[in-house]
C-alpha cells in the first residue's frame, strides 16, 4: 500500500514533467533550436495564473486558457524579434539568443516580483486511503496534460498546419519548394512551444509555490525527457515525463533521495549511447 503511494505520486508529477518538456522538445525537434528561455517561460505561466487569481479572483483553470493564448503570442513575438534573424546561423547563435531572452525575463521578473516564493492558495480537496493521498489539483493537472498531448498530436498529424510543421521539421528546403511558408510555420512552432511551457507553468502554480527562477528545474528535466522520448514527439515527451516521474517517485522508497539524479542522468547517458533518437521514435 505504501509503495502504491510512491507510485501514484510519481505518475502524477510525471504528467506535469511531460507537458513541461513538450514545448522544449517541439521547438528543438522542429527548429533545431535549444530554447534556454524555456524555464523562465514556465515561471511566467505560473505568475500569469497567480496574478489573475489573486488580483481578479479568476479560476486558475480559466486563467490557464488566458495564459496559454498570451504564451502563444509571446512565443511568436520572441521568434520574430530574437530568433528569426539567427535561425540559419550556427547553433551557438540561437543558443545565445534564447539565453539572452532567458536573462531578460529573469532580470525583469526578479525586479518586479523579487524571488520571494508566491503561492496560488487554491484547492480542489483530496482523496485519502491509508498512506495514499491524492490531491484534486494534481489529478486535474494530469488530465489537462493528457488533453493537451492529445490536442497537440491531433494538430500535428490531422491538420494541414500540423503537416506543414512536420514537413518543415523534416526538411525545410523541400517544404519551401512545396510552397509552405516556412518562416510563418517556424514562428507558429515557437509560439506553440512557448504556449506549452506557459500551460505547464500554470498547472504547476496550482500546487507548488514558485519564483521566477522555479522554471529552471523543469527545463533541466525537459532535456532528459527530450532524450528519453525523442524530439518533436508529444507522445514521446509525455511518456518520457512519466518515466522520469516514476523514477523520482519510486527510487526514494529504496535509497536516499540524493541517488535520484544519479539514476536519472545515468539513464540519460545510457539512452544517448543505445538509442540516440529517443525511446519513442524521433525526428529523422
Amino acid at each position: 500500500m505504501q509503495f502504491l503511494a510512491f507510485l501514484i505520486d510519481g505518475l502524477l508529477i510525471g504528467f506535469v514533467y511531460g507537458i513541461a518538456a513538450m514545448g522544449l522538445t517541439l521547438i528543438w525537434g522542429v527548429m533545431n533550436v535549444i530554447n534556454l528561455a524555456h524555464g523562465p517561460i514556465i515561471a511566467l505561466g505560473s505568475f500569469g495564473v497567480y496574478l489573475l487569481f489573486t488580483n481578479i479572483g479568476m479560476n486558475p483553470y480559466l486563467a490557464l486558457v488566458v495564459v496559454a493564448v498570451l504564451g502563444l503570442l509571446l512565443g511568436m513575438l520572441m521568434y520574430l524579434i530574437a530568433i528569426q534573424r539567427v535561425i540559419d546561423a550556427p547553433h551557438l547563435s540561437t543558443l545565445l539568443a534564447t539565453f539572452a531572452i532567458n536573462m531578460i525575463i529573469i532580470g525583469i521578473g526578479t525586479a518586479i516580483f523579487t524571488t520571494t516564493p508566491r503561492t496560488v492558495n487554491f484547492s480542489l480537496g483530496s482523496i485519502s486511503a491509508g498512506p495514499i493521498t491524492i490531491l484534486g489539483t494534481r489529478v486535474v493537472a494530469a488530465l489537462a496534460s493528457i488533453l493537451v498531448t492529445g490536442g497537440l498530436y491531433l494538430f500535428l498529424y490531422r491538420t494541414t498546419l500540423g503537416k506543414y510543421v512536420r514537413a518543415v521539421a523534416n526538411n525545410r528546403a523541400a517544404a519551401e519548394l512545396m510552397g509552405i511558408p516556412s518562416r510563418r510555420i517556424l514562428a507558429l512552432s515557437f509560439g506553440i512551444g512557448t504556449m506549452l511551457a506557459a500551460i505547464s507553468g500554470s498547472l504547476i502554480a496550482t500546487f507548488f509555490p514558485f519564483t521566477i527562477l522555479s522554471g529552471g528545474v523543469y527545463e533541466l528535466k525537459s532535456f532528459v525527457i527530450g532524450v528519453l522520448g525523442g524530439l518533436g514527439n508529444p507522445l514521446g515527451a509525455l511518456a518520457g515525463g512519466l518515466i522520469l516521474g516514476l523514477l523520482e517517485g519510486v527510487i526514494p522508497a529504496f535509497v536516499t533521495t540524493s541517488w535520484v539524479p544519479v539514476f536519472e542522468f545515468g539513464l540519460f547517458i545510457i539512452i544517448l549511447l543505445v538509442r540516440p533518437t529517443g525511446l519513442f521514435g524521433a525526428k529523422k
Partner: protein
Amino acid sequence: MKRTRFVLTIVVLIASLLLAACAQQLTAAPEEAAAQEVTALIGFTASQTGSYNVESTRQINGLNLWMNQVNDAGGIKLADGSVVKFESKFYDDESNKDRVQELYTRLSTEDNANFLISPYSSGLTDAAAVIAEQYGKVMITTGAASDSTYQKGYTLVFQTYTPASKYLTGAADLLAATDPSVKKIAIVHENDKFSTDVSTALNDYALSKGYEVVIFEGYDPGTADFAAFINKIGETAPDAIMGGGHFQDGSTFAKQIFEKNVPVKFLALLVAPPEPTFVELGDAALGVIGPSQWEPLANFDAEAASSAGMAWFGASSQEFTAAYTAAYNEEPSYHAAGGYISGLLLQQAIETAGSLETQAVKTALENIDALTFFGHVKFDTTPENHGLQVGHSMVYIQWQKSGDVLAKQVVWPAEGASAQTVYPIR
C-alpha cells in the same frame, strides 16, 4: 633714486611674503577642517539577483538604515578628535560563490574598504571570509550561521548570528517541555552547507536528549516536489518533523505536509516560517514553528539590560522596528535586523577603539559583551573558534490563529513567549 628703488623692492618683497603666508593660511584652514572628518568605507556584496535576493535585500536595507542614522547623527568621534562618517561600496554577487571571492578581493584591494560586511548565506560568507582574512580586513558576518567558518583559524571575522550548531536545538527543548512523552523525531534537510550543519547538530543534540531519530536525510536544493520524500517520512511515523532549508523549499515542504495530511504533532522548519510571506500558505502555515534570529516581538531594551546586569548599546527593538518600518514600509525580518546589528557592532567597536585601525577595532570587538536590540552579543576569542557568536540565542515563533487571522507568536524561550505553543498541530 637707487635707494628709493631698493626700499620699494624690499617693501614689495615683504608684501609678497606676507600675502603668500596669508594665502597659505587660507588654504591650510580647509585642510585642517577636512582632517576633522574622515570617511570610512564599508564594502560588501549584495545578492541583487539569484536565489538569495529577498533575504539579501532585507539585510542590506538594515545595514543602510544603520549607516544613514549614524551619518545623520553626525558620525562617530575618534580619539584624535576627528569624526568618522560612513560610505558603502557594494556589488551584485548574483548569489554566486565564485563572484563573491572576486568581488571581495576587489573591495579589499582596489576600493580599499576599511571594513567588510559579509554577503547573505553561510556558503557565500565562507567564501568571503578567507578574502577578508587574507587582506587583513575586519569582517562582520551576518546572514551566515555555519560554525565551520570560525574554525579555520581566522582572527578578523566576527559572527552576529546564533551559529548553526544551536539553530534548532531549542526546538528539541521546546518539544520536550511541551510533550515529554514524544520520542520519535524525523530530521530532514536541504543538502547545502548551512542546513546540513544545523541538522547534524540537531541530530546529535536530539540523540543526547534521548530522542529516537527515525529518519535523517537530505534533499536536493532544487527539489520542487516532496511527495516521494514525504511518503518516505510517513513510513517511519514520526511524532515530530524538524529541519528544512531555505525559503522556497521550506514553504513547499510545509504546504505538501499539510496537503498530504501527514499526522504529525510538531513541525519546526528553518528560515521559511519567520518570513512574513509564509502566511500566504494559508492553513498550511498553521502551527508551523521556526527559529528566528530576532523578532519584533522580542523586547530587548536598556531596561532589560539593566535588570539582567548587562551592558547595553544602540537602539531598542521598538526603536529599530519603528525606524525600519518608516524607512521601508514593511516590518523588519531578522535578516534586516542582522544587517543593522552588523553596522551597530562595528560602530560600537570603533567608538571603543577610538580609531579605524584594524587591530584596535578587532580588540574592541573581542571585548564586546552586551545586550542590544538584537539580543546578547559576545564573541568566542579562543584560537579554535575565534569570532564565533557565543552570546546570542534564537527565539522560536509559531503561526497561530487569532480569530480568522494568522499571526506569528513567540513560543520559546518560555521567558520571552508571547503565547502558549499550539500542540499537537494535526
